[in-house]
């Protein structure tokens, strides 16, 4: 196969000093599906953003079909047929699918925008690649899987021959993933080249021709997929044997710490996000909730932690009603929350590591001497946490924005775990964390479970859920549609059916496993 793209000596350093890419070489052959794997912070997304014109490298060259080229913007990349579908979609929610697809190349009638032409273009290309989308729906109203299709069609309409996909299956169910892979194979048959970034080694083995492994900003190896096993790949990624599963001893659950009754809630635009949620969490157990992103689990956690109001229903912590109470009073009832979005809720970027670590306890008597904060005690506490949680930072007075994503998450986890909660709400606790850190977090969660904490675990990582949960619930369109009290007996295929709403347990089975 001939070489289509070659990247040579690519170096990129971010303003906070992080070396994202360190003299990286990459070679992509025409018509292949090429996977790029690596831990978080390995530099995969940065490298691809450079190729797709979103980021400029500090050093290095790019060759297209042997010819040296400069890519200064996404549109220049598209001229060479390189298009990228990002992890966070680049769509405009209040515009329709058709408007989003033709954005930047809008068909005109005189001086005005030709909406009819936009719609027909959308239908054409949707048919050509067998990816159905509704041209007239507003993007804010369509499901995640369709949003991704819109993104892919956008690139294809602009003549992308090389498609870069960044963690495309992060938000998809197993079934939607299958559908995506089918589309990718169709595209490959039609002569397109695909590069995709992923964490998921199973997918890599399934669909890619070659793999490039990146580690700490460097290209460690490029090999044919057939010639290497999952274990070998992960060894290259991390450089040591990774224990895929953490040991979990059987413990007997105790009293109920969390009781949710008849919970109902609405989103900002009036849609009912939670219909009638009932479940409990007891001490010494981990209850996992699986579901495709956007089915109400985020809203559920927000309500439980006091960040959002419930319209109806009751939430009891150790028997005390905390429904719609403030975040402060909920925290006072010994509830901790590892939020899904660490940038939005979990941290204050411009503040120091120390200031971030004590945000839930700064007003407690042990850190205050009359009217003044006890600086020494605060610093000691912070340093203790940094050591215990292995956070890579020299001084707790450093601004947290200087840390890598994984270490920032560790700060959040450190704070929430160290407050000795009786209920921990963990929403995507290992998102953006590398394999080593992920293992650490899992071990901590299990430790807490043994120490009589009740844990509610929300995750889009089914492996994580299967490995950690004692009981597993599945949420679909704001309702709990399945519950399993024996996690070992379920298979992934089945979970996917429930997650997509294709199957639903009957009332009795549900209730049994709920409590």
């Amino acid at each position: 196969m001939e070489t289509l793209i070659e990247m040579r000596g690519i170096t990129k350093v971010y303003p906070n000093g992080v070396i994202a890419n360190n003299r990286v070489n990459l070679e992509i052959s025409s018509g292949e599906i090429h996977a790029i794997v690596g831990e978080n912070g390995a530099g995969k997304t940065t490298l691809m953003k450079i190729l797709a014109g979103f980021v400029k490298p500090d050093e290095g060259e790019i060759f297209y079909k042997g010819e040296k080229i400069k890519i200064n913007s996404p549109s220049e990349a598209l001229e060479k047929g390189i298009g990228m579908v990002h992890q966070h979609f680049m769509l405009v929610p209040s515009l329709t699918v058709a408007e989003n697809i033709v954005l930047g190349m809008e068909p005109r009638k005189g001086l005005s925008f030709d909406l009819q032409k936009a719609i027909s273009l959308t239908k054409e290309i949707s048919k050509k690649y067998n990816m159905y989308v509704n041209p007239n729906s507003k993007v804010k109203d369509i499901p995640v899987g369709m949003k991704q299709k819109v993104e892919i069609l956008k690139s294809l309409l602009r003549g992308a021959e090389i498609l870069i996909l960044d963690e495309p299956t992060a938000v998809l169910t197993p079934q939607e993933t299958e559908s995506l892979f089918e589309s990718l194979l169709t595209l490959k048959k039609q002569g397109h080249t695909i590069i995709f970034i992923t964490h998921k080694l199973k997918e890599v083995k399934k669909i890619s021709d070659r793999i490039t492994v990146m580690k700490k900003g460097r290209n460690v190896a490029t090999i044919a997929t057939q010639e290497v096993s999952e274990k070998e790949i992960s060894q290259m990624m991390v450089g040591r044997d990774v224990i895929f599963e953490v040991e979990k001893l059987p413990v007997k659950p105790g009293k109920t710490v969390l009781e949710v009754k008849n919970l109902r809630a609405f989103s900002e635009n009036g849609r009912m996000m939670l219909k009638n949620i009932n479940f409990t969490v007891r001490e010494r157990e981990i209850v996992g909730i699986a579901g495709v992103a956007g089915n109400g689990q985020s809203e559920l956690v927000e309500i439980l932690s006091g960040l959002r109001k419930a319209e109806r229903g009751q939430i009891l912590i150790n028997g005390i009603d905390i429904t719609n109470k403030s975040t402060k009073s909920i925290r006072n009832k010994k509830v901790s929350h590892i939020p899904e979005d660490r940038m939005k809720y979990g941290t204050a970027l411009e503040a120091t590591v120390e200031e971030n670590l004590i945000s839930d306890r700064y007003d407690k008597p042990e850190f205050n001497r009359m009217l003044i904060l006890n600086k020494k005690k605060i610093q000691t506490e912070a340093e203790k946490l940094v050591k215990e949680f292995n956070i890579a930072v020299n001084s707790v007075k450093t601004k947290i924005k200087m840390l890598s994503g994984g270490n920032v998450q560790k700060v959040v986890v450190a704070r929430e775990i160290s407050s000795n909660p009786c209920l921990l709400l963990a929403n995507q606790p290992t998102r953006g964390v590398d394999i080593g850190g992920r293992e650490f977090v899992h071990r901590k969660l299990i430790e807490m479970r043994e120490k009589s904490v009740g844990i509610l675990l929300i995750s889009s990582d089914i492996d994580e859920l299967m490995c950690l949960s004692d009981r597993l619930l599945i949420i679909y369109e704001g309702e709990l549609v399945a519950a399993f009290s024996d996690v070992d007996k379920i298979n992934e295929e089945e979970i996917g059916l429930y997650m997509l709403g294709i199957k639903k347990q009957n009332e009795i089975t549900l209730r049994e496993a709920m409590i």
């Binding site: 996404p74 680049m90 769509l91 930047g104 925008f113 009036g270």
Partner: protein
């Protein structure tokens, strides 16, 4: 009280409403255009002062009101471009930059006037011109409506005609589509090759043009001179009106009219025996009150929407 009401429900008062709304409407459109494209133009107040002075000076120089207007509007657009440059290229916080522009304009216009005429604060030494009022042929014969709608300054008509024009631009033209995209999700725009910064520069220039029209109207239509700080907060009322109208042209026009009514009311009350200081307070009070009502209303709308849906489910 009765006397006040009698005075208000007259054709001449309604005429005054349109007259007084004009600068606020221009300022609102200026705020709308840049806001839709993702930039809050806090400097409208300063731009108005700059164009007001420029209009007066140039028209005195050339003895032509039109050239005063054109140059005034261009100068405002240029300063708007400066604002854009500092925000987009040098990454100055847009609100602070806008405030800086307002400060610079407030002192700078007095400075320039003093240098040119030796007078500090009023331009009476200059023989500046004024933009014409227009008498609409058939309409002005209609009994009450005629008095309300005809014999306005040309810029008043331009202001109100601009509203549907701005609407068409935003919702029926590709450029408007792009503006809205940039305001809502600039990454999405960038990813399809739209030059986000280029268009934001354009948005700010257009915003500057409208702000310029507002300023020029003040010194060459509303009154016929320049006096220090004559914008008197109208630039900020424009921001408030755009926010209240949700950046939708026709709603913004309604909001601007509300502020215009408050302003006209305060002018009218001055002719009665109420202390001038109290009267001066009225437009600003009403702005705050309207803003608060609007905020409470949106707040409750959010709550209401949620309970409403509960009934269908």
């Amino acid at each position: 009280m009765v006397k006040v009401l009698q005075g208000i429900f007259t054709a001449s008062f309604f005429h005054a409403i349109f007259r007084v709304t004009t600068p606020i409407l221009f300022a609102s459109l200026a705020a709308l255009i840049s806001d839709v494209c993702g930039i809050v133009n806090v400097g409208i107040e300063g731009l108005m002062l700059i164009s007001a002075l420029t209009g007066v000076v140039i028209s005195a120089l050339t003895q032509s009101a039109w050239s005063g207007m054109i140059v005034g509007v261009i100068v405002s657009a240029l300063f708007s471009l400066l604002l854009a440059y500092f925000h987009l290229k040098l990454k100055t916080n847009i609100i602070l930059a806008g405030i800086a522009l307002n400060l610079m304009a407030s002192g700078g216009t007095v400075f320039v006037l003093a240098v040119l005429t030796g007078q500090k604060g009023v331009s009476t030494a200059l023989n500046s011109r004024v933009l014409p009022d227009i008498r609409i042929p058939f309409i002005d014969k209609i009994p009450i409506l005629g008095e309300i709608l005809s014999n306005h300054n040309v810029l008043t008509y331009i202001a109100f005609i601009s509203v549907p024009l701005v609407w068409y631009f935003m919702y029926r033209m590709p450029l408007g589509l792009r503006f809205r995209t940039i305001g809502e999700n600039p990454e999405a725009a960038r990813s399809v090759g739209i030059h986000v910064h280029r268009l934001q520069y354009l948005a700010l220039v257009l915003s500057g043009l409208f702000a310029g029209l507002a300023g020029v109207y003040m010194s060459m239509g509303y009154v016929s001179w320049f006096v220090r700080d004559m914008a008197a907060g109208r630039g900020f009322m424009g921001l408030a009106a755009a926010a209240m109208g949700g950046n939708k042209p026709f709603l913004v026009m309604l909001a601007a009219l509300l502020f215009g009514i408050a302003d006209a009311l305060s002018n009218y009350l001055q002719s009665l025996r109420i202390p001038s200081e109290i009267v001066h307070m009225i437009p600003y009070l009403i702005t705050v009150v309207f803003l608060t009502i609007y905020a409470i209303f949106s707040h409750h709308k959010k709550m209401k929407k949620i309970t409403f849906s509960a009934d269908d489910a």
